[in-house]
């Protein structure tokens, strides 16, 4: 009768001196393991230009039809190549984070990121567009450098 209580308390006391596992989320975060697939990221190349050429293969590969993009010709005002995506949207409630878009991309422009915080307050924010997905360009970069 008394013995099991002592065993239980001993376990409790033992754990009080062990290293803590829980973190103080959201102030603290655990790093994601390497193969984690979170919110997508659109990359830039070494010159700061958008890598995406708007070929649409990610949209075809997407089993959930979550990707919509529109290609456009660069008039020299955008930090991108001659053909770029003027509109790039991912519908996050459709996305199943399978990573097929990353696999389909012929220019390695899209990657599955590590961001898992996808909750929003408005249903309008269910759609990620380029401002959400594209990695920020260098502060001193100018569009005219690329043409």
């Amino acid at each position: 009768m008394i013995k099991p209580i002592l065993v239980g308390l001993a376990t409790t006391f033992r754990h009080m001196f062990k290293k803590k596992v829980a973190v103080n989320y959201p102030d603290e975060k655990i790093p994601m393991f390497p193969k984690f697939r979170g919110k997508q990221v659109l990359m830039r190349d070494e010159n700061g230009l958008e890598k995406c050429v708007a070929c649409g293969l990610c949209a075809v590969a997407c089993p959930a039809d979550a990707i919509y993009l529109e290609a456009a010709e660069n008039d020299g005002t955008v930090m991108a190549g001659p053909r770029y995506a003027s509109l790039y949207q991912i519908h996050k409630t459709r996305c199943i984070f399978c990573g097929y878009c990353e696999e389909a991309c012929p220019v390695s422009a899209i990657f599955m990121g590590k961001d898992y915080e996808t909750a929003v307050y408005s249903k309008d924010d269910f759609i990620w567009d380029k401002s959400d997905l594209l990695v920020p360009g260098a502060a001193n970069a100018k569009p005219s450098q690329q043409m």
Binding site: V53, A54, C55, G56, L57, A59, V60, D65, A66, I67, Y68, A71, A72, E73, G81, P82, R83, Q89, H91, R94, P106, V107
Partner: protein, 606 residues
């Protein structure tokens, strides 16, 4: 007609005398690749991928340039043929860049299709590719007002050269330099200036010649819906396909993305002109009329009131009152554009007869424009002068059309009557684009502003000077927004199918006329455009087949994979006969039970 019988791959094939082995193979559904051959232009034999083995001939022959003979034994699957063909493909791909992801042809490209089927698995070329103007889409250079040229992608099949020489009649494209340095060029890099230049994109088997209009606009798999319709921008009535972009469905509704010609040997062959190909942006443009409009109050003070968007059920009674008021004066007149379809003109005729009695046909004027198109004298694709699709239809219905298709409409009589004040009220029907189809109509607007006309009703599709001056503006629909029939300059009755819905509250034009007629107490017992066609077929001689004409609906995405380069769609009618119908065969006739959607049967797993 004489015919010859030969054996291709062990299969006896009978074709008309004078056909080539390649044509025989295509007709019998045997797959032979080709680039330089195009049924609309002459035979060249420069691409060499259509090689076949013919018994008793010492070497492999190009099937596109070998005439069929009785008793010929042809093999397209012999080991020699397969190896030679793969060798030719390897050569074609030595310099062809692998920029398919950014190439507008990617996905509907014969070079892709045939290379996957017949070409080698990989290239053995170690050296860098020949580059003309840059890498990727940077190599796209200006090629005239409508086209872009990418020389890196060119495989020198010379289809464009022959098209310009034979069909356009002005050989603007040529090949400069020789051997390895050969390239497509125009004199002093001026580009192609032609009224039928858009066909070069269809003719080009790779992405070397592309239209600026379609540049970067869509990928072929995003255009799941294709509607077979006709072009109504001139009296020729070219058979066309309207392509709709609609993927994915949540992002945007379907919209028109391009027009391509559809083969009809009697009307337009394989081609269409640039006017019909590129002049469609207004259909989904900013200036479309989406809601009916009317001026604030009735009576003469109405002119001062602004034109306000309203609802059909508010416009309808006001319009009825004003029309009754005008009709009692006996100076009421209709002005219909020859862009109006047979259905609309038929309803209009019945409406006018009911309202105006014996003077009906005198109270309807038909208007259209005529412009001489600059084309070489030797062209094989002549674009007609008349810019309206249905002048002959109006004539068949008994309307006065003067000289018909030989010149512009004569509206001077109407103008005199309006300016003299004998015509007080005018109802204008103009379902044509931004420039209208009635020529200079500023006199009508001026007559309304000066008060010579007391009532101006305009049934149109886009805002114009006329709609600004009108008392009532009724939004109609463009030709791709309604099922309608038109009679072209040959007297051929053709069906134009509805590809997209009219915008906003706009209605099909026959429906507007029926509604107006009903509000005035005219019995018009039509519930659909099919009803109108049935009545029309019964009432008019020579139109008995009108109700049987087939209308298309957008073909669903499940069949897109089988459609390739649009200009070569005829090929898919012959090849892949074992597969379910491809685009363009899902014909749904009105009044018949709906056909089951074609599907691809699952193959049993071994």
């Amino acid at each position: 007609m004489d015919s010859v019988t030969l054996t291709i791959d062990g299969r006896p094939v009978t074709v008309a005398k004078g056909k080539t082995v390649l044509q025989a193979a295509i007709e019998s559904g045997i797959s032979v690749p080709y680039y330089c051959y195009h049924p609309g232009i002459s035979i060249d034999g420069s691409c060499r991928v259509c090689v076949v083995k013919i018994e008793k001939m010492p070497k492999l022959q190009t099937s596109c340039s070998t005439l069929c003979a009785d008793g010929m034994v042809v093999s397209t699957r012999d080991r020699d043929v397969v190896e030679a063909r793969a060798g030719v493909f390897e050569f074609l791909l030595i310099n062809h860049p692998l920029d398919c992801p950014v190439c507008d042809k990617g996905g509907e490209c014969p070079l892709q299709d045939f290379s996957y089927t017949f070409g080698p698995a990989e290239s053995r070329m170690d050296f860098p590719r020949r580059v003309f103007d840059g890498e990727g889409v940077k190599a796209d250079v200006d090629f005239g007002p409508t086209l872009m040229l990418n020389r890196n992608r060119c495989i020198l099949c010379t289809r464009c050269v022959r098209f310009m020489k034979e069909i356009d009649g002005d050989a603007q494209i040529g090949i400069v330099d020789r051997g390895y340095g050969s390239e497509i060029a125009t004199f002093q890099e001026q580009g192609v200036h032609s009224l039928i230049s858009g066909n070069l994109m269809d003719v080009c088997p790779v992405g070397a010649i592309l239209t600026k209009d379609y540049r970067f606009k869509s990928r072929p798999w995003d255009n799941p819906g294709v509607v077979d319709t006709i072009c109504t921008l001139c009296s020729k009535g070219c058979n066309t396909s309207a392509w709709l972009k609609a993927k994915p469905e949540w992002a945007r509704g379907s919209r028109l993305i391009r027009m391509t010609p559809r083969y009809n040997p009697d009307v337009n062959g394989y081609w269409m002109c640039d006017i019909g190909r590129f002049n469609y942006h207004w259909i989904e443009g900013e200036n479309r009329l989406r809601r009916p409009m009317m001026r604030g109050s009735a009576g003469s003070a109405a002119q001062a009131a602004p034109l306000e968007a309203s609802a059909w059920h508010d416009v309808q009674p006001r319009l009825r009152d004003r029309l009754q008021e005008a009709g009692s004066g006996g100076a009421f007149h209709f002005l219909a554009s020859a862009h109006a379809s047979m259905e609309e003109l038929f309803v209009l005729k019945q409406l006018a007869e009911a309202l105006l009695g014996g003077d009906a046909m005198k109270s309807v004027s038909i208007g259209w424009e005529a412009t001489e198109k600059p084309q070489p004298a030797t062209t094989k694709f002549k674009v007609p002068v008349t810019d309206a699709p249905n002048v002959n239809g109006a004539r068949d219905l008994g309307f006065a059309v003067g000289r018909g298709n030989e010149g512009p409409a004569d509206l001077s009589g109407l103008r005199k009557a309006v300016e003299a004040g004998t015509v007080k009220a005018l109802y204008v029907i103009d379902p044509a684009g931004p420039k209208g189809s009635l020529g200079d109509i500023s006199w009508i607007a001026a007559a309304r502003r000066s008060g010579a006309l007391s009532l101006l009703v305009v049934q149109a599709v886009v805002t114009s000077e006329l709609t600004e001056a009108a008392d009532f503006v009724l939004p109609g629909s463009a030709w791709v927004e309604k099922d309608a029939i038109y009679t072209n300059d040959q007297g051929r009755v053709q069906a134009a199918s509805r590809a997209i819905a009219p915008p906003g509250e706009a209605l099909e034009d026959w429906q507007i006329l029926v509604n107006v007629g009903r509000s005035l107490g005219v019995a018009l017992p039509y519930e659909s455009s099919g009803d109108v066609r049935r009545a029309l077929a019964a009432a008019m001689t020579g139109y008995s087949e009108a109700e049987r004409l087939a209308f298309m609906r957008p073909v669903p995405a499940s069949t897109w994979m089988q459609a390739s380069n649009p200009s070569e769609r005829w090929k898919w009618d012959f090849l892949f006969q074992d597969l379910p119908p491809t685009k363009g065969h899902n014909v749904q006739m009105e009044g018949l039970p709906a056909q089951a959607t074609p599907f691809i049967p699952l193959k049993p797993v071994q």
